[in-house]
């Protein structure tokens, strides 16, 4: 399996080489082929994965790279990273497939495809890396391609500023994160994530763990993003091209939560314990803040992409709250919510991109009403995605938030129980607000007559889902349904690994 994991990184690189070997007009197809191949390859991990030992790091490859730093090329996959890995390869493949028709058949199309493949190397590497420094290198690799996508292929006058804001914010976070990693290494003498997870904070004093958690946590909190460090996100999402938004929301944000879970909670338990309540508070504020910002966007002049971006702040708030409980249930919920958010928000951004392509805008009020009538299947898909996003039982959005709430009801020993109960209540309120804005959106877009009473509001029929859109969007919708009906699919994988991760934290 180790070979397979290396191939997952090597194949996009090969795709890059082929991209520049063939004429530029073939670029989009080469990209789609590479994306599909990587996805199929990642599916091949499934039968090879030993589900009985989901908590163990499997397919390990460990070779020294830079001895001066103690940097090793160390890969592996376990129950926590496997779902995220598959999410990454799936979303990238769908994005590359979706982009085949829209990608220009010239040099710029080639660069566009190259950036997505480079992005994939960084994203896949982040979830595979088992060496803190290697993790950091992959974490950094994603910055430039995403910057390029927003800066060059984004829309709106503000796109350059948005791209700058994105990269400067995230770089500040990752620079601090690096300091945290180096601090861990200075005290424990290793970057090996497997060994550090086993030690579970052993060898680091409370003060060191607190400092390291603060540094590392800041880096991940910016990436996730946690309120009030989220301000880069709405701008970046609004300006990014469709596939950029999908990957940004679907995968890049998960790199933050993944790091917080594996490195923050798993390797710095005392530090995590110290800051858990603060993390929960910020996450809960994020839930309410995101929902209120969305309700604001649902009024006249609001923008659909910006609305989805703010909804991400809210959903990520749930993930943070789940992590903050430091319980098995909470972390399970956080991981599940991460994957679910990747699927649902990916779908939502695809839908918003469809509007952009059809009508050239994502302004909620210019898009018009009565989509059920104008484009039946398109409207239904929006309603479906919105229901999933608001956490309707039976769809993927439900379980993550439920588990988080359950986790908050009984936080880990030593954490303030009443405090978390307050957070739980506020988060519940946030869920209601979330439902409010999503229903507002559905009402605004899908319902209503296409012709107003005076005949003034006349909306043209809209092209319904094309085959290309069906192919690249339905897998997300299907998985949303499957994950909602059969959550054990992910939880059975994640739970043993989470249990092991929390090894030192006593269960209540």
């Amino acid at each position: 399996m180790a070979t397979l994991l290396v191939l997952l990184l090597a194949l996009p690189a090969v795709g890059l080489a082929v991209l520049y070997a063939l004429p530029a007009r073939q670029a989009a197809r080469v990209g789609a082929a590479a994306g599909a191949l990587v996805f199929l390859l990642s599916l091949a991990v499934l039968p090879l994965f030993d589900y009985g030992r989901a908590e163990q790091m499997q397919g390990r490859l460990d070779v020294p790279w830079v001895p001066a730093f103690d940097l090793r090329f160390h890969l592996g996959v376990d129950g926590i990273s496997l779902p995220l890995l598959l999410l990454t390869t799936l979303l990238t493949a769908l994005c590359l497939l979706y982009a085949v028709r829209t990608t220009a058949k010239d040099e710029s199309g080639r660069t566009f495809t190259a950036l997505i493949l480079l992005l994939e190397i960084g994203m896949v590497g982040t979830f595979l890396a088992q060496d803190l420094l290697l993790f950091f290198v992959f974490f950094e690799i994603v910055l430039l391609p995403m910057y390029g996508l927003i800066h060059r292929w984004g829309s709106g006058e503000e796109r350059r500023r948005a791209a700058d804001k994105f990269i400067l914010y995230t770089l500040l976070g990752s620079a601090l994160m690096l300091l945290g990693f180096l601090l861990i290494h200075a005290r424990t003498g290793t970057f090996d994530m497997v060994a550090l997870a086993q030690r579970h904070g052993l060898g680091m004093t409370l003060g060191v763990q607190e400092a390291a958690f603060l540094l590392v946590g800041l880096g991940f909190a910016i990436k996730t993003p946690m309120w009030p460090l989220h301000t880069w996100l709405p701008d970046a999402h609004t300006c990014a091209p469709t596939v950029g938004s999908v990957l940004l929301a679907g995968v890049l944000l998960k790199m933050g939560t993944y790091g917080l879970i594996r490195i923050g909670a798993g390797m710095l338990p005392l530090g995590a314990h110290k800051f858990a309540f603060a993390l929960g508070c910020f996450g809960t504020v994020g839930i309410v803040y995101g929902a209120l910002a969305c309700i604001n966007q649902a009024r006249r002049g609001g923008d659909l992409k910006r609305l989805i971006a703010y909804s991400s702040v809210g959903h990520m708030g749930f993930v943070l709250l789940g992590v903050a409980t430091l319980t098995r249930v909470g972390l399970d919920g956080a991981l599940f919510a991460s994957v679910a958010h990747g699927l649902i928000t990916g779908l939502l951004f695809f839908i918003a991109g469809g509007f952009k392509e059809r009508l050239g805008t994502t302004d909620l009020y210019t898009l018009g009403r009565g989509l059920y009538e104008r484009a039946r299947r398109y409207g239904a898909l929006i309603a479906f995605a919105a229901m999933a996003s608001l956490g309707l039982p039976g769809l993927a959005g439900f379980w993550g938030e439920l588990y988080t709430i359950i986790g908050a009801a009984k936080p880990a020993a030593g954490l303030t129980s009443p405090g978390f109960h307050v957070l739980m209540a506020v988060a519940g309120l946030g869920m209601i607000l979330t439902a409010t804005y999503l229903l507002l959106v559905v009402r605004r877009l899908c319902m209503g007559a296409t012709v107003g009473p005076s005949g003034a509001d006349r909306y043209e029929p809209l092209a319904d889902l094309s085959n290309r859109e069906l192919v690249s969007w339905t897998p997300l919708a299907g998985l949303t349904l499957i994950a909602g009906l059969w959550p054990a699919l992910i939880l059975a994988l994640a739970d043993p690994a989470v249990h092991r991760l929390l090894g030192g934290v006593r269960q209540p």
Binding site: V66, A68, L144, R152, L176, L178, H185
Partner: protein, 519 residues
Amino acid sequence: MNVSALLGVQSIDYVALLPVLLTAGGALAVLLADLFLARERRTWLVWGTLAVLVAALIAQIVLWSERSAAVRYTFCVPGVPGAAPPRSLLPCSYAVDDFTLTLQTLALAATVLVVLMAPRRFDVPFGEYHFLLLSSLTGALVLVAARDFVTVTVALETLSLPAFALVGFGRRAGGEAALKFFLMSIASTAVMLFGLSLVYGATGSLYFSQVYGGLLRAATLGGAPAQLAGVGAVLTLVGFGFKISAVPFHFWTPEVYAGAPVPVAAYLSVVSKAAGFAGLILAVALAFQPYAHSLGILLAVLAAATMTVGNVIALRQRYAVRLLAWSTVAQAGYVLVPLAVSKSSQVSASVAYLVLYAVMNLGAFAVVSAASGSGAGHLPSGGELAGYRGMYRRRPRSAVALAFFLLCLAGLPPGVMGLFAKVAVFKAAVTGDLMWLAVVMAVNVVIALYYYLRWAAVLFDVSMFGAAQLTAGAPAVVAAPVRARTALAANLAVGIAFALAVVLSFWPNPALDAVSHWR
């Protein structure tokens, strides 16, 4: 014990000196050849200079191959006849160890790139130019091998004097820049000599090993000599501070770089700066070690100020060379960080940073030099940044190379080499318990990313005459675009730097391990 030792005559190891001798001899040969060459054959001098440098590099390889045997010391004060202590304990003026070899190789290889990166129709007197370059290089080679302060001072002057003249070759503001450089440099040397005189007064020697012993004694005894020696050490460091353009001794840097021809600016920013750092490292790590703790605090403050001022002012630059000048100021701040660690020696991180920095900085300068040209259509200060707009269309390979070097300087993948350089420095700071300095540096890395990335993005901006420039608010003047045709040699320089940068991105170990066992 041979006769020369009995007579108190120093024995000289000519093999150890070979790179220096070749370079110095080559300098004279180039000057003489210039007299006898027909005007149209002057370009041969370029290849002659390169041959000298390659010969010196081959001599280096010989020295590298036998370095594991023993460190070569030469110009040693002979010991008492008959006693014959090991060479390493004798006061010696010249040593060939890992540190020397690494930085000598760095200086020689960097000068090869500097010679190659000359633009088309480079309008300088070729004979003098290459003679001065090789002379200055001789100073740099001696400086990094020097193990006493007299040799350091002489080498530093040998390095600087030809550099003044080289700066004067600049077409526009060359004369003024040269004068400024000269005055600043003289002042710094004066300060340094005064400091050295105090150190000599307190310790009675100028050999590093004996200054170390003397300071140790002075520090334990305390009182006036200890204070005197402390002041002397600080003043000596101030002298080096000028050479490496550490804030607040950096004022000459942007003017001089902008006024000088671009290859000379590249030389100053890499070879001259590396030699200055070598002197500083030797002084701090070998001679002033007993005062490491208090000097460490001073260097930490210096590092923080240097990187912050350099980066903040670089944000406002509109010209390529000026931006690179301020960026080199900031980069010097990063190199200073490991030196500020007093607890355990982190010198290898500084040297590794210097080596990696040399590659990426020379690469960036090489592209700018080729793009800004020389002669009538020469763009001052490497051209305006706006002139680089859409360079990817006209010269895709140069644009990609420049973008890569800028990302390396910023430390952002795919410029992994630069990332490793930054990690080395961060690691030194965190290991040495200088967390505050590491956080200052982290913020600086973010500031720096902004201006490097802005320039890199301009290269790929296709909206050359796009809406932004046609709207009423924007000025109608479009900056002169950088050149499309460049010299073969300059492209070669870019290519070499690019290849090195890519290799070091995947395999940085040679740079990182170079002096890991030094001292």
